[in-house]
Amino acid sequence: MKHIRNFCIIAHIDHGKSTLADRLLDHTGSVTDREKQDQLLDNMDLERERGITIKSHAIQMEYVYEGETYVLNLIDTPGHVDFSYEVSRSIAACEGALLVVDAAQSIQAQTISNLYLALENDLEIIPVLNKVDLPSANPEEVTDDIVDLLGCKPEEVIPASAKTGLGIADILKAIIERVPAPEGDPSAPLQALVFDSVYNPFRGVETYFRVMNGEIKKGQNIKFVATGKKYDADEIGTLKLKQQPKQKISTGDVGYLITGIKDAREVKVGDTITDAANPTTQAIAGFEDVKPMVFAGIYPVDTEDFEELRSSMEKLQLNDASLVFAPESSAALGFGFRCGFLGMLHMEIIQERLEREFDMTVITTVPNVSYLAYTTKEPETPLIVNNPSDLPEPSTLSHVEEPYIKATIITKADFVGNVMSLCIDKRGQITGQTYLTQDRVELTFDMPLAEIVFDFYDRLKTVSKGYASFDYSPIGMRTSKLVRVDILLNAQPVDALSALVHFDNAYDIGKKMCEKLKELIPRQQFDIPIQAAIGAKIISRETIKALRKDVTAKCYGGDISRKRKLLEKQKKGKKRMRQIGNVEIPQQAFMAVLKLND
């Protein structure tokens, strides 16, 4: 045990975690030249393409240091706030953390939130000042920032470049010397923490775990504490670049487990694995059932594809347990699903995976958060509202509660004013303003989560010229004055375009929605009135004027092909649109409210 080191890499988005992991793998000889590629651990197509980490990735390295061989278990974590629960479980599986800070960008919101998570779990923090090779790097100043944040000595901050390989040996040395070896009782009943799971279409769910106490053996009958389910450990092993089956994994070590589970929902990140016959008395603390934060309807573009969509969603859920969905129907869109996501990035990922992996073209409706509605009849029993159409009639409605978050924004002093007015515009109340350094300010707000969903990230980026980072955590429900804004096209209400908004913003949002839809819905062969309404009251209107010309003038020297292809494309475009009544609506229109300020 004393030769094992378990550590994770945490940082703000894009500060270089995955690239640093590459260098550590190189330096310890864990990958051959042939296996090398950038951000090697980001093995999902989507991760590679977008250059972001979506899932935690674990890998085991061996490293000889001062004549002794050490086993280093590395966990690379996603930086994005949508996945902070996963990060917290990865952190719980380790004794140490490399806190990577970009030498050009310094401390950002997720640097801090992840640091606190690590500190809560008593991890040894090794600060790494990454990207010192960048011309824009500011090593002295950023080192000071880190020293201020951690209360460490400047010499403890390791200057590094994941690009050039600078500092990698120092980092490995620090891991071995500073991160404590795992502790635990090898003779106690098995107690292992599930920190991640991955779906493999051939082998079923692979569970990644860290043994806290006892040991796990191949063939052992085991139990998941939270789900209460029992399985046989068909295969266990360690996580080299390729999995290496083993007979047993002992206290302090990290490994994978295959039991033939086919449904990712049976393996809950944060759950405790124990022996079925001789269970531990203690589940590992910190387990939570992840709750979706954002809801939206997903509908097939072609109504006939509903069953196919269902089976695609089910398959997707097999490998992404954080996706939840239930069938729903919409007058405008027919049958589809109300889906719950961890956040906006997660929603985008699901949509993209449906298209990419299942070839399903879908319409995603306006996302919303989960509200609690209280009626005058039963003022004690809250109704869960995950869909605008579930909001009770204004006449029977007593009040509504909406989820609030604590938002943390770190920005430059110059942009404090802009950021504040944005947050106040978003119904935020400022709760704190701290100067981290002379030029960098941390602002905290209590804010409705719903406001983050509506066009927040883009605006934050704009008002801060990109110099703001953002993080949030839920702080419970608060009473709110909400109304539903409905949209009517051609005098027909289109339920899929309804949105729940705060009363004070309703008129403004209604107006902007009409304007946006006017822009997005192509002109058709007749006039289309667009109206926004609260109940029976019309609050805004626009008209899409009928298309009056749909011919091209000249056919260039007999170039019939080009013209035919143009018109074929026009028809294909229409096929991707959804016909509601006699109006053709393109997919983007359903998400229009999110981009009202563009």
Partner: protein, 376 residues
């Protein structure tokens, strides 16, 4: 019967709206013409039967000297079988017209002119960057009317910043000469043209389709009163003066296109030559390939028949679709057309499907809706 189209890819200056293939570097003229003669020789085997039309288009074919034009005509007569009263058209720009050239063109065999007037308004001509002015527009037209019985004029409407009154004035001026044929095109903003750039940078107001439609209505109204047949969306003619060349495009007849960027069709395969004078010349010189081809599937031919048919007074022939493409296409067409017939935008008789007068300006969009895509 087929037509031969010769593309003369040169102009004096670039009109702002134009995305046709042309070059203003006249020094390549001779080699290009040489290569075109080569192409004519190489492809004589492709034409079955008589050549009914020869058309010099461009670019600006009136840049050519009469003997250069004549050389093409006699080459064609030598290598192909040309019908006795074949229609031989030359596209001409007003600034190239004078008495002696007109005589010379007639002498080498040109029997139809198509004059690129575009407008009689000085401002509009300048805004479009045409090479001629108002006065030249008038004198060229007068001269042409004097010497040719069979001719056409091109006009452009829907010009941003000008008014329907100006358009009507241009039309009336044109009608004053009593031309047997008029082509009138709505100004469209094509990609990568000066016009597109001017609009994007705010130097010109954008074209407006309500304006275009208003002008189109004036056009239909005035030419109807003046007893022209509206035989294709952009083409109007007195009886017997349809452009045989253009009609062949709409009627799906074969044509041979010679020169850079020219298109050809043999009833099954479309082909287009490279859109570059130097590449074209070099390829012909060295016996390399200079064109691409596309063999039409039944579905392509169906889509084209619908697209072209709905633009003409002859409509889409059910008979032709049934016999030449297949009965399932005829059924599909009838099914798709139903809702448009109910709305009164299309109408049919036993044999044909037509675009109603009021829906003519939507003809391409309607055609697109009637198309068959590969998924169906």
């Amino acid at each position: 019967m087929s037509g031969i189209y010769l593309h003369i890819p040169f102009c004096k200056q670039a009109c702002h709206y134009c995305d046709f293939h042309f070059s203003t570097r006249l020094k390549h003229l001779e080699p290009v013409l040489g290569a075109m003669h080569q192409e004519l020789r190489d492809r004589s085997g492709e034409v079955q039967g008589e050549v009914a039309t020869i058309y010099f288009g461009g670019g600006t074919p009136s840049l050519l000297k009469a003997d250069q034009i004549g050389a093409f005509i006699s080459a064609i007569r030598k290598q192909y079988t040309v019908k006795d009263n074949a229609e031989i058209t030359l596209e001409a720009n007003p600034d190239d017209l004078d008495e002696s050239r007109i005589q010379a063109w007639k002498q080498v065999g040109i029997n139809r002119l198509s004059l690129g007037i575009q407008s009689f308004e000085e401002e509009e001509l300048r805004w479009m960057n045409r090479a001629h002015n108002q006065q030249q527009a008038h004198s060229a037209l007068a001269l042409m009317a004097q010497h040719f019985d069979n001719y056409s004029i091109d006009l452009i409407y829907g010009i941003p910043g000008s008014s329907p009154e100006q358009w009507e004035a241009t039309l009336n001026t044109a009608l004053g000469y009593n031309p047997p044929h008029i082509s009138a095109y709505a100004l469209t903003v094509e990609e990568n043209t000066a016009l597109e750039h001017m609009i994007q940078t705010g130097k010109s107001p954008d074209v407006s389709d309500t304006r275009a439609e208003d002008d189109f209505k004036i056009l239909m109204q005035r030419l109807d009163e003046a007893r022209y047949q509206h035989y294709e969306i952009s083409n109007f003619a007195r009886d017997g003066y349809y452009s045989k060349n253009n009609s062949s495009y709409w009627l799906g007849k074969p044509y041979l296109g010679i020169g850079p960027s020219a298109h050809s069709y043999d009833g099954r395969t479309r082909r287009w030559n490279v859109r570059n004078n130097i590449k074209y010349t070099r390829a012909l010189d060295q016996g390399e390939s200079y064109f691409e081809t596309e063999t039409l599937t039944d579905r392509d031919r169906y889509n084209e028949a619908v697209m072209t048919g709905l633009r003409t007074q002859w409509g889409v022939s059910y008979h032709r679709i049934r016999e030449e493409i297949g009965p399932k296409y005829e059924n599909y067409l009838k099914m798709q057309a139903e809702s448009y017939i109910r709305k009164g935008w299309l109408f049919e008789d036993e044999e044909r499907l037509f675009t109603a007068r009021a829906a003519k300006f939507l003809a391409d969009g309607i055609a697109s809706d009637l198309f068959m895509l590969n998924l169906e």
